[in-house]
């Protein structure tokens, strides 16, 4: 019996009992706890937060796998290297692996540590956050920067509020925002989105410009006749054969993830749909008003718009919680993101800041929705 193997050291009053949060975390990771219901309903649904979180990770896998291949593809294309499919994928995998390791190691260490301090069980939320962060940063980001960003976001955005379920902002996005504002040279510009580290053939080769379609379009290089943005066609952007952060490029891979999230009910389709609607509407207005030559649907396939709408805006903790609120919240996320893209001279991607801003306002949106509802109820009561 495994129970007998568990040393007395970790049991209550044991010498290492203070470690019980960590021990419990590993223990319940391997085996569902044997706890039985004490009050309330005597039987319970099979669902728990571990299952919910792992569903999000599974939904992210297509985007992550494609992203790894694309990392290799972009490097090979840019530098004219003659690589096959597997070489490209292998290169991307090797480049991404350290990011995942650092993200999980730093984040989980802090999660475990703070669970110890609070004497609570370790939360599962970081399973998703730790997977998201490597997918939304440039692949060549120095690992020490990533470690600092992860530590900052987990400590100051999550743990100080009380852990998963209590945070106001999406921790993965804050990690990205932290990098963006602290180390702008590693996070923006036209040379960061294609990996060139570790390629023996490229020793001594200078960085080559590798602007993302979003940046190209921002500079006005849109060919209305062919529908191409610079050297990238519309379908390149749909398939994802473009530079960008690892997870965000392929519309198809993200839509597979969206399907999983909506099917399992883990993320709200209302937020996704309304975010797309908001982006389309503002993109269309921008086109009418002459702010851009791009057709509005280009806004959805470029940059991090779709990835943000599907995986980041829908975080149930930081999004609006009322159903009406979700429509408003999602719409504003999409609309704001495109507003930033179109009417902002310096910074071409608005999704990150749009989501963080709407995270801030989500409780206000909910407050308004609930107030309207309760005052309607009160009125009904008066008239009855």
């Amino acid at each position: 019996m495994a129970d007998e193997k568990k040393p007395g050291l970790f049991e209550k009053d044991g010498k290492l009992y203070w470690l019980h949060s960590s021990i419990d975390a590993f223990d319940t990771f391997l085996r569902v706890p044997g706890t039985v219901t004490a009050k309330g309903a005597h039987v319970r649904d099979g669902i728990d937060l571990k299952r919910v979180m792992i569903m999000v990770v599974i939904a992210l896998v297509p985007a992550a796998l494609f992203g790894m291949y694309n990392v290799g593809l972009q490097t090979a294309t840019l530098y004219g290297l003659d690589w096959g499919f597997w070489r490209m994928f292998w290169y991307g995998l090797l480049r991404m692996l350290p990011l995942f390791v650092v993200s999980y190691a730093v984040g989980l260490a802090i999660e475990f540590g703070s669970a110890q301090i609070r004497g609570e069980e370790v939360n599962e939320g970081y399973l998703v956050t730790g997977f998201l962060i490597p997918l939304i940063v440039p692949v060549d980001v120095p690992l020490w920067m990533l470690a600092i960003a992860v530590a900052f976001s987990v400590i100051f955005v999550k743990e100080v509020f009380g852990g998963t379920g209590m945070n106001i902002w999406n921790p993965a996005l804050v990690a990205r925002a932290f990098l963006f504002f602290s180390y702008p040279s590693s996070m923006s510009g036209s040379s960061v989105w294609v990996s060139k580290t570790w390629v023996a053939e490229l020793k001594g080769v200078d960085a080559v410009s590798s602007a993302t379609p979003l940046a190209i379009a921002h500079d006005g290089a849109f060919d209305a006749a062919t529908g191409a943005v610079g050297q990238y066609s519309f379908m390149d952007m749909v398939y994802g054969f473009i530079p960008g952060s690892t997870g965000e490029t392929s519309v198809i891979a993200i839509l597979i993830g969206a399907f999983i999230l909506i099917w399992t009910g883990v993320a709200s389709w209302k937020i996704m749909v309304s975010s797309l609607a908001g982006g389309l509407l503002v993109g269309w207005l921008g086109q009418l008003g002459g702010a851009t030559a791009l057709p509005c649907y280009y806004q959805l396939v470029m940059g991090g718009f779709l990835f943000g709408s599907v995986f980041m805006a829908t975080d149930p903790v930081t999004a609006a919680q009322t159903e009406t609120g979700k429509w408003i919240y999602g719409f504003l996320v999409g609309a704001l993101a495109v507003v930033v893209r179109l009417w902002n001279p310096g910074y071409m991607e608005g999704m990150m800041l749009a989501i963080l801003l709407m995270n801030t306002f989500a409780p206000l949106i909910d407050h308004c929705v609930v107030s309207v509802h309760t005052s309607r109820r009160a009125k009904k009561a008066l008239n009855a």
Partner: protein, 441 residues
């Protein structure tokens, strides 16, 4: 019929062990317990001592604050023992039953006024059957409610089939409705238009369809005539309404009922005729490691193998205690033995399947993360998560605003079931209600 109510939200939990529609035995218990703990808000005062002789209908205890409310013995016999717990709290009065039953005669006469109805209920021991909303406490005799609601069916998991249990008690039910209608208008909800109870007169009938909790009287009230601040509504179960009618018709207190013995751990799920206070072991065989729930799996009371059937209960659910630990439970793609209403598992592939459920929590307690699931199982015009958080915070004003007057824990019991964060929603709501009672008194 004019009043149709179709509810969409909710969930029927597919637990195994529905009772076959047959009575397999009639229990004549040796010992019957009268339990003050069955009644919410009762501070009991004992009226008998060990060795006293009682008849069926003789008072055993009264409410300390309102001594006119009497609680009576369901059998004739001798008081054998007064069971007390910590701080001498009265837990039960055990009555040893006589071989031949004698009844107190309350006079077979239909009450002519509200006061006569109240007097009859108070002295026969059936007053406790009246539940007052808001808060779900025992009704106060000096209050006149705006309405009295009765649900003629239960949608709770494996609940007793009221048509099977009470179809032959129609005359009693009618007499009970007539008596209560002297106090306030009576509303009776039906499962379908051709229900056996559709012939009841002197009551407003409503047909309610939908998954559980459509049969909960609280959910029905919130759609038919919501309770506002300062208003009072009474409810009574159909089972005890029939008992009230029986006293009116015959003058005798007759509480014996068909009890549905249900659940995955029940060896033979079927009906047993028994009195409230009958030892559980005489009603059903209880194996090792089995939890005996008085009532349904969502709202029932853990009676223990040595417990006694409660005053309000006509169902026992037997469940295995789920202490076993499952390797990689949450990570397995398929868990055919575990039901989940969430589509993160594959229970949706087998909608007809009934599950051999146990009492495992299937996870550990966490902060609220996924909260839409609460709305999906709450067919009421409220935001469950906001009400729950207001109760947690103990904010009276917000609790009022978010609908504390309209709910009892039983109406949000499904939230307990579906919550991936494993919060005890019913306990939270009850805590909020207790605070309201304390602050509003």
């Amino acid at each position: 019929m004019s009043n149709n109510l179709a509810l969409k939200k909710g969930l029927d939990i597919p637990v195994k062990g529905a009772a076959a529609l047959e009575v397999i035995k009639t229990v004549s218990p040796d010992i019957v317990a009268v339990k003050p703990t069955d009644f919410m808000g009762l501070v009991p005062r004992l009226l008998v001592k060990e060795g006293d002789a009682v008849k069926a209908g003789s008072p055993v205890m009264a409410d300390k604050m309102r001594p006119e409310i009497l609680f009576t013995s369901p059998v004739s016999g001798t008081v054998q023992q007064v069971v007390r717990g910590e701080k001498r709290k009265l837990l039960a009065v055990l009555v040893k039953a006589d071989a031949k039953q004698e009844f107190v005669d309350f006079g077979a006469k239909a009450p002519a006024s509200a006061q006569e109805t109240k007097d009859l209920l108070l002295k026969s021991g059936l007053w406790g059957a009246l539940i007052q909303r808001p808060y779900g406490t025992m009704a106060a005799p000096d209050v006149t409610p705006k309405a009295i609601f009765v649900s003629s069916f239960s949608t709770a998991p494996l609940a007793a089939d009221s048509e099977f249990v009470l179809a032959d008690a129609l005359a009693d039910i009618q007499a009970g409705v007539n008596a209560l209608a002297k106090i306030a208008p009576v509303h009776l909800s039906l499962r379908k238009e051709n229900s056996a109870f559709a012939r009841v007169q002197n009551a407003t009938l409503h047909v309610v369809s939908g998954p559980h909790p459509a049969g909960n009287v609280g959910v029905q009230i919130s759609h038919i005539d919501p309770i506002r601040k300062g208003e009072t509504v009474w409810t009574v179960s159909l089972l005890l309404l029939a008992a009230i009618g029986h006293v009116v018709n015959t003058g005798k207190l007759e509480l014996s009922r068909k009890v549905a013995v249900t659940g995955p751990a029940a060896s033979k799920p079927a009906y047993v005729v028994a009195l409230p206070g009958t030892p559980v072991k005489e009603i059903a065989a209880v194996g090792e490691g089995v939890r005996v729930v008085g009532g349904d799996v969502l709202t029932g009371e853990n009676l223990g193998a040595d417990g006694y059937l409660g005053f309000f209960q006509n169902q026992l659910t037997l469940l295995r205690e789920g202490n076993e630990r499952e390797w990689f439970g949450w990570a397995k793609p398929f868990r055919p033995k575990v039901h989940s209403s969430s589509w993160c598992y594959f229970s949706w592939l087998t909608p007809k399947k009934k599950y051999d459920m146990d009492t495992n929590l299937h996870g550990g307690p966490r902060a609220f993360v996924e909260t839409k699931c609460f709305e999906d199982v709450t067919p009421m015009d409220i935001f469950p998560i906001y009400l729950i958080k207001a109760c947690l915070a103990g904010e009276i004003e917000k609790m009022e605003k978010f609908g504390i007057y309209e709910v009892l824990p039983e109406d949000l019991a499904l939230c307990d079931y579906v919550d991936p964060s494993k919060n005890e929603i019913q306990a939270i709501i009850q805590k909020g209600i207790d605070l309201m009672i304390k602050e509003m008194a």
